[in-house]
C-alpha cells in the first residue's frame, strides 16, 4: 500500500441477503423480547408471540447452518466499517449448531413452563426474559468479536438474574446472590483480559487476533489466555470454581433451571473452545497441564458430588458440571478429533441437560418433594416418566447408542491416539461415565423403584405439555444417537475450521490486508 493514500475504511461491496442470517437470530430475539415486554399483560397472546418468535429464530438458525455447510463461515460487520473497526458477527458450524440447539430447547422450555404458570404468574416478565436470555446466548455463539462476547455475557447475566429472582422466595434470593456475585466476578476477569489484549494487540476482532497474536510477546499472551481460562472456567462451572452452580440451579422453577442447565455453562465451554483453541492456540499449548488437571478433576469430582447429594436438582447440577469435564478433556487434547468430540459434547449437553431438568421438575410435581429421600414408588404411578428419566441418565453417562456416547467415543479415540497424558484422560472419561451411571441409577432407584415412604401419595397433575416437551427432546437424543453420522461429519468439518482458521479469517474479509499493514 502506498505511503500517502489512507487505507480504505468502509466495505464497498454489496451485502448478500443470505449474510443477514447471521444477525437475524440475535435481532429477532432482542426485538421479540422487547415486543413481549409491551404485550406483558396480555396473557396467552404473550406465550403465542414468544413461540412464534422462537420458531422464526429456529428457521434462521437452520438457514444459517445450511449456508455455512455450503459456503463456509458466514460473517457480517456492522455498519459497513471494515473489520477490525466494525463489530463482526462471524458464525462457523459450531456456533450456528449451538445457536440452533439453544433455540430448540428454548422452544421446549417455553411450552414446558406452561404447566408451572397459572394466573398469578401472568405478566411477570418470564417470556421477555427468556427471549433476552436466548438473545444473549445466540449472540455469544455467533459473535466474532471478543468485546461483543463480553456484552452478550452481560446480557445473559442480566436475563438469568431476572429469571432467578422471579417469584422472589428466600431460597431464590440466596441462590441468586451466589450466582450473581460469582458470575459478575467472572465477567470482570474477562473484562480485565480484554483490556490487556486490546492494549497489547490493538484489536479485539477474533479473526484479527488470530493473525496478530503470534507476533506478540508469548508470555503476555499466555497471561491473557490464563485470565480467559479462569473467567470462562467459572462461567462453565469447571472444578474447582464450580461452587455457584449447585448453590443456585435448584432454587428457581424447574423450567428456569432447565433453561440454565442447557444454556449457561455451555456458553462458557464454547467460549473456552473459541478463545483457547481457535484464537490463542500457542497459549493453549502452554496451559495444557492446567487444562489436563481441570479436565480430570472435573470429570472425577463432579459425579462424586452427584452421588453424595440427595436433593434431586442439586444432584443433577453436579452431572451438568461433569459434562463440562468432558469438554475440557477435548480442549486438553489438541487434535482435531478431540475438538470435534468437545463440540459434539456441547451440542449433546445442551439438549440432554435441559431435558433432564424438565423431567426432574415433573418428578418434583408428582412426588411433592424436592429431596430424593422423600420420594419413592413413582414407577407404579407413572412408568412413562421413569423410562424418560432412565433414558436421559443413560444419555448423560454416554451409554451407546444414545447421543452422549458418540462425543465420548471421539474423545477416547483422540486420547488413545495422543498417548502419554491422553491415557489419563481416557481413564478419567471412563471413570466419569461409570460414576455418572452410579449416581443416576441410584437416583432412579430411590425415586421410582423403592417403596414410597409412608404418607406420600403420588399426586396427579395435568402436565401433559411438560411431559410432551421433555419426551420430544429425549426422542431427539435417541434418534440422533441412532443416526449419528451427519452430526459426527459436521463436527469433524467444524473442528477442521477451528484448528485451521483460514476460512474463518477469510470470511471476515481480513485476509486481504496483511497483518501490521494498518499501522
Amino acid at each position: 500500500m502506498s505511503q500517502n493514500a489512507l487505507p480504505t475504511a468502509m466495505i464497498e461491496t454489496l451485502t448478500a441477503i443470505g449474510d443477514w442470517l447471521v444477525v437475524l437470530p440475535i435481532v429477532l430475539a432482542l426485538m421479540g423480547g422487547a415486543l413481549l415486554l409491551m404485550l406483558r399483560q396480555t396473557g396467552k397472546l404473550s406465550l403465542l408471540a414468544a413461540l412464534v418468535v422462537v420458531g422464526a429464530i429456529i428457521a434462521c438458525d437452520i438457514g444459517l447452518l445450511i449456508r455455512i455447510a455450503a459456503e463456509g463461515p458466514v460473517s457480517m460487520t456492522m455498519g459497513r466499517w471494515l473489520p477490525p473497526f466494525g463489530i463482526s458477527l462471524t458464525a462457523d458450524i459450531f456456533g450456528a449448531a449451538f445457536a440452533l440447539a439453544a433455540a430448540v430447547v428454548t422452544l421446549a422450555v417455553l411450552a414446558y413452563a406452561e404447566i408451572e404458570r397459572g394466573e398469578p404468574e401472568q405478566g411477570d416478565g418470564f417470556h421477555p426474559l427468556v427471549l433476552l436470555l436466548l438473545g444473549g446466548v445466540t449472540g455469544a455463539f455467533l459473535t466474532g468479536d471478543l468485546f461483543n462476547l463480553y456484552v452478550w455475557f452481560e446480557v445473559m447475566l442480566i436475563a438469568s438474574f431476572g429469571l432467578l429472582v422471579l417469584g422472589g422466595g428466600a431460597a431464590q434470593l440466596d441462590g441468586a446472590v451466589k450466582y450473581g456475585f460469582l458470575n459478575f466476578l467472572a465477567t470482570t476477569l474477562f473484562l480485565l483480559a480484554l483490556g490487556l489484549s486490546y492494549g497489547l494487540l490493538g484489536t479485539l476482532n477474533m479473526a484479527d487476533i488470530m493473525r496478530v497474536a503470534p507476533m506478540a510477546d508469548p508470555a503476555a499472551m499466555a497471561g491473557i489466555a490464563a485470565l480467559l481460562l479462569l473467567a470462562f472456567g467459572m462461567k462453565a462451572a469447571a472444578f474447582p470454581i464450580n461452587a455457584w452452580l449447585p448453590a443456585s440451579y435448584h432454587t428457581p422453577p424447574a423450567a428456569v433451571s432447565a433453561l440454565f442447565a442447557g444454556l449457561l455453562t455451555k456458553v462458557g465451554a464454547y467460549a473456552l473452545l473459541r478463545a483457547l483453541v481457535a484464537i490463542l492456540p500457542a497459549s493453549r499449548d502452554l496451559l495444557e497441564p492446567v487444562l489436563l488437571a481441570l479436565a480430570i478433576g472435573t470429570l472425577l469430582v463432579a459425579p462424586l458430588g452427584a452421588i453424595a447429594e440427595t436433593n434431586l436438582r442439586r444432584a443433577l447440577g453436579f452431572l451438568v458440571i461433569g459434562g463440562i469435564g468432558a469438554v475440557l478433556a477435548g480442549l486438553a487434547l489438541p487434535s482435531p478429533a478431540a475438538i470435534a468430540g468437545a463440540g459434539l459434547y456441547i451440542f449433546h449437553a445442551i439438549v440432554t441437560m435441559t431435558a433432564l431438568y424438565m423431567v426432574a421438575g415433573l418428578i418434583e410435581r408428582r412426588s411433592g418433594a424436592r429431596d430424593s429421600r422423600q420420594m419413592g414408588g413413582l414407577y407404579a404411578a407413572d412408568s412413562g416418566l421413569s423410562v424418560l428419566f432412565f433414558v436421559l441418565i443413560l444419555a448423560a453417562a454416554g451409554v451407546p447408542p444414545l447421543l452422549g456416547f458418540w462425543p465420548k467415543l471421539l474423545l477416547i479415540e483422540a486420547g488413545l491416539a495422543a498417548g502419554g497424558w491422553g491415557y489419563g484422560l481416557v481413564a478419567a472419561l471412563v471413570a466419569n461415565a461409570v460414576l455418572t451411571l452410579i449416581a443416576g441409577t441410584r437416583l432412579w432407584a430411590h425415586i421410582f423403584w423403592r417403596n414410597a415412604p409412608e404418607a406420600v401419595a403420588p399426586r396427579r397433575h395435568r402436565d401433559g405439555i411438560g411431559f410432551a416437551a421433555a419426551g420430544l427432546l429425549a426422542a431427539a437424543i435417541v434418534a440422533a444417537g441412532l443416526w449419528p453420522n451427519p452430526l459426527i461429519a459436521g463436527a469433524h468439518m467444524a473442528a477442521a475450521d477451528i484448528v485451521d482458521p483460514a476460512h474463518y479469517v477469510a470470511a471476515t474479509g481480513l485476509a486481504a490486508v496483511e497483518p501490521g499493514e494498518r499501522e
Binding site: D19, V27, A34, L35, L37, M38, M78, R80
Partner: protein
C-alpha cells in the same frame, strides 16, 4: 417534599426538563448529548413529578406503562438497524435523507431513530425504577 412551593413549581420544572431532554437528544448527533442523556433527563423529570403529585397521578399522565415505552424503544432501535436490509448493506449501516424545507434542509437518518429508541429505553426503564421506588416510599408513610 410535599410543600406548597414545590407542588406549584413542579409542573414548570417538569415541562422545562422534558423539552430540554428532547433538545439534548436531538443535538446529540454532532455535539455532546444524545438519546441516553436525554432519556436520563426525562426520567429525572418524571421522578420530580412523582415526588410532587404522587405516583398514581404520574401513571395517569403517562397513559402508557413505562416498561412498555422501554420495549418500544428497543423495537424502534432494532428496526432502524434493519432498514439497511433494503440498500444491501450490513446491519446498522446508516441511511440519510435530506428533506428540503423552505430555506434549509433537514437531515433525517436511521441513527436519529436509533437514538430516539435509546431515549425511550432509558426513559422507560429509569421511570419504572423511579416510580417503583416512590410507590414503596408512599406505602411507608
Amino acid at each position: 417534599m410535599n410543600t406548597l412551593i414545590f407542588r406549584t413549581l413542579a409542573p414548570l420544572i417538569v415541562a422545562t426538563m422534558l423539552v430540554f431532554s428532547l433538545y439534548v437528544c436531538l443535538r446529540g448527533h454532532n455535539e455532546p448529548g444524545g438519546g441516553f442523556i436525554g432519556g436520563l433527563i426525562a426520567a429525572a423529570a418524571i421522578a420530580v413529578f412523582g415526588m410532587a403529585s404522587g405516583v398514581e397521578e404520574v401513571r395517569r399522565a403517562l397513559r402508557v406503562d413505562p416498561m412498555a415505552i422501554a420495549g418500544f424503544g428497543v423495537v424502534m432501535a432494532g428496526a432502524s438497524g434493519l432498514m439497511s436490509l433494503f440498500i444491501e448493506a450490513p446491519f446498522m449501516t446508516s441511511i440519510w435523507l435530506y428533506l428540503p424545507l423552505g430555506d434549509t434542509t433537514v437531515p433525517i437518518s436511521t441513527p436519529l431513530f436509533f437514538d430516539l429508541g435509546v431515549y425511550c429505553v432509558v426513559f422507560g426503564t429509569l421511570a419504572s425504577v423511579a416510580l417503583a421506588l416512590e410507590a414503596s416510599d408512599e406505602e411507608n408513610h
